[in-house]
């Protein structure tokens, strides 16, 4: 018996080994395609590579972590070293986000959970359609490893709250460029307080119409620019854990 068993094992491994190697090689190829797509800021290639990953039944979380995130980290290093700039970070983050969208149904189906620094719901407040600053923060947060739910521009308080509840947000970010729409940030602050969302939720505000005094008045966190916003959110989530 033992002899037979050994034989079977041997045959089994001899048969399987090459197949496994092929699979591993395929997976490696797709992982490097995902990473490369992010590093070359190529949204289309990232989406293609994500579809390929699903086709060979890769674990989507592994594809994100070892492919997309790895690529994003390298772009982040290049940015720190001054070799690429903000537009590159945004483009890399957009490529990554689009690929993640491809993976999302599969992640849900597997009831898996993506390991992220935190979940952020971000948008420009009702009455305001200035969204470039918000887009920038949104991309930098994605690049930093957050799961970002960008609810767009001219967003009602209800929509912010609804989305935050749906995704169990750790952070809500609200932007406004205009003084006339700044009161919307207060309305959102009040709504958050009454909403029953997580107690440790970080409410951060930004935009040209926002001053540190205003943020303090409405009990929100203030960040003067996109990089500081990411830094502030990271720091606060760390301390509120």
């Amino acid at each position: 018996m033992s002899c037979v068993g050994v034989e079977i094992l041997l045959i089994d491994s001899l048969l399987c080994y090459p197949i496994k190697v092929v699979i591993m090689q395929e997976e490696q190829t797709v992982l490097s395609k995902l990473g490369e797509a992010v590093k070359s800021f190529d949204e289309e290639a990232a989406v293609e590579a994500a579809k390929e990953a699903l086709k060979i039944e890769m674990d989507p979380l592994e594809a994100i972590e070892k492919g997309l995130t790895k690529g994003m980290r390298e772009v982040g290093d290049l940015y720190e070293r001054g070799e690429v700039f903000i537009p590159h970070l945004v483009a890399a983050a957009e490529a990554m986000s689009s690929a993640i969208e491809v993976f999302e149904p599969e992640i849900l189906a597997r009831k898996a959970k993506r390991k992220v620094l935190g979940k952020v719901v971000i948008g420009t407040v009702a009455g305001d359609i200035h969204d470039i600053g918000k887009n920038l923060v949104s991309c930098l947060l994605t690049a930093a490893g957050f799961e970002v739910h960008d609810v767009g521009k001219d967003v009602s308080t209800e929509k912010f709250i609804e989305k935050a509840k749906e995704v169990e947000a750790d952070v809500i970010g609200a932007s406004t460029l205009m003084t006339v729409t700044a009161p919307e940030q207060k309305e959102l602050a009040d709504a958050i307080a009454k909403s029953g969302l997580k107690a440790k939720l970080v409410y951060i505000v930004g935009g040209a119409a926002v001053t540190p005094q205003w943020a303090e008045e409405i009990k929100a966190v203030y960040a003067p620019d996109a990089n500081s916003a990411v830094k502030a959110i990271k720091g606060l989530l760390e301390t509120r854990k």
Partner: protein, 483 residues
């Protein structure tokens, strides 16, 4: 984007009639009023070339045809070569280059912030900073080493520069032909002999004329010594409006122009084809106090007039730039330097950086050196003008993005990020971020940057044998230069 290339059409400060008028009046002054020539050699050259000369009165009356012939002989384009050829500077009317300002006597100490007499170490350190700054093309001794024998200061300035930068060296004014002789010996030792120095002149030298219309003794003889070896001469005029030049900008443009035509005639008659650069550093009088300033509007107007005259003749020019009369790196320094620098560049300046000094070319500030460089860098970007090629208009990308999208992540944006001007010191951050980083003024930032460059930049050293030879020449020079 090609750095250092002018694409913007130079601004016209003198129209065609004015150019002709100034030229013809310059010719008339040289012929009818005459020029005082303290140099015996220059008088002889002019005499032998057919000018009317009174050796006793040391006066020369130069006929227009000689002046115009000399203008034809002067080369219209040439290179200021550097020890490392990748730092060569093109003087061709299309390139813009940046030199340090000089030569001061005082340094604002980088550590203490106090004023003190300048030293050879300051020459070395400012040269090292220039070596590290990509767009700083020419090193002109920012200060003179007061801790070394004064009669041999030029040699020590070159010595300190050679140890710290591979860029072209523009010697400040030499007042004796012997200074030129020893400086040329040093340059030849570095270049590998006089023949190689002539092929690739790694130095040039200022010949500072005296206003109203004087070709001084030592400066003129030194200029001839340089020209003999093919070393480019920066023929400099410095009329003080209302004092050594007429109070009106046009009058000072005229008198300065006549002066430069005069020295160019002497040089070209003796050494045809010798490279000469048309240079202007006037000052204007503050009429209430009698103080003079390099960057008051009248002085800047004279500079721009001279730049345009130089371009009219096709001669390379060197003038203006980031100069000022402020005593510390403050707001006055900033606006004086920005205005004069930009005007010089817009008027068509070839060398118009002139970075590093305060109080009318007399005081070195390391912080100001970097702030001036930042301004020069910005101006250089402005001199590119607006590119309106198909690629630059970005019509396809505009269509792709549509009325509601953004351009942040577009391929077109990524492709052109490196064309965008990037600051070394200037802080665009909002108040909160700036405050969190220590609420630093640009002077604070420049101080840190200067210290960082001094601590980290490693220049390419000279060959040991050359160093030894230079030390010998300096010793000989200290004995041989009259003092």
């Amino acid at each position: 984007m090609m750095v250092g290339v002018r694409k913007l059409k130079p601004m016209e400060v003198l129209d065609k009639d004015a150019l002709t008028n100034i030229h013809l009046n310059s010719l008339e002054l040289l012929e009818k009023m005459g020029v005082k020539v303290f140099s015996k050699e220059a008088l002889t050259i002019l005499d032998e070339s057919g000018a009317k000369v009174d050796h006793k009165k040391q006066m020369a009356w130069i006929p227009p045809h000689l002046v115009e012939e000399a203008l034809k002989k002067a080369p219209k384009t040439f290179k200021l070569c550097a020890r490392n050829p990748k730092n060569d500077v093109e003087l061709d009317g299309n390139h813009i280059s940046c030199s340090t300002d000089g030569t001061g006597l005082t340094t604002i100490d980088l550590e203490t912030g106090e004023r003190r007499p300048s030293t050879k170490d300051d020459v070395a350190k400012s040269a090292l900073i220039v070596d590290a700054l990509k767009l700083a093309d020419l090193y002109y001794p920012t200060v003179t080493p007061l801790d070394y024998p004064k009669h041999a200061h030029v040699l020590h300035e070159y010595d300190a520069a050679l140890d710290n930068t591979q860029k072209h060296f523009v010697s400040g004014a030499t007042y004796l032909p012997e200074e030129a002789v020893y400086l040329i010996k040093m340059a030849a030792a570095v270049a590998g002999g006089l023949k190689k120095l002539r092929e690739r002149p790694i130095i040039s030298a200022v010949a500072c004329m005296m206003a109203p219309l004087i070709l001084p003794l030592g400066e003129t003889d030194a200029a001839l010594e340089f020209s003999k070896q093919g070393i480019p001469v920066v023929a400099m005029t410095m009329p003080l409006t209302g004092a050594t030049g007429p109070i009106t900008p046009a009058g000072s443009v005229l008198i300065g122009n006549a002066q430069i035509l005069g020295i160019n005639t002497v040089i070209q008659m003796k050494y045809p084809g010798a490279p000469v650069i048309y240079s202007s550093y006037p000052m204007s009088m503050e009429v209430r106090t009698g103080a003079f300033a390099v960057s008051f509007p009248e002085a800047t107007m004279v500079i721009t007039g001279h730049i345009q005259m130089a371009r009219h003749y096709g001669l390379p020019n060197y003038g203006g730039g980031t100069i000022g009369s402020a005593k510390i790196p403050d707001e006055q320094a900033a606006y004086e330097k920005a205005l004069c620098g930009l005007m010089s560049m817009l008027a068509g300046g070839d060398v118009c950086g002139t970075i590093g000094l305060l109080e009318n070319y007399t005081v070195l500030s390391y912080e100001q050196l970097l702030i001036d460089y930042e301004m020069y860098d910005m101006m250089l970007r402005l001199a590119q003008g607006i590119d309106v090629s198909e690629e630059a208009l970005a019509l396809d990308t505009i269509y792709k993005v549509g009325p509601e999208g953004h351009f942040l992540a577009e391929k077109h944006t990524l492709k052109h990020t490196k064309d965008v001007w990037m600051p070394m010191l200037t802080d665009p951050a909002p108040y909160g971020t700036w405050k969190d980083k220590g609420a630093k003024s640009v002077v604070d930032v420049a101080k840190e940057k200067a210290k960082e460059i001094l601590a980290t930049h490693k220049p390419t050293p000279l060959d040991r044998d050359v160093k030894k030879r230079l030390a010998e020449i300096i010793k000989e020079g200290e004995k041989g230069i009259p003092h």
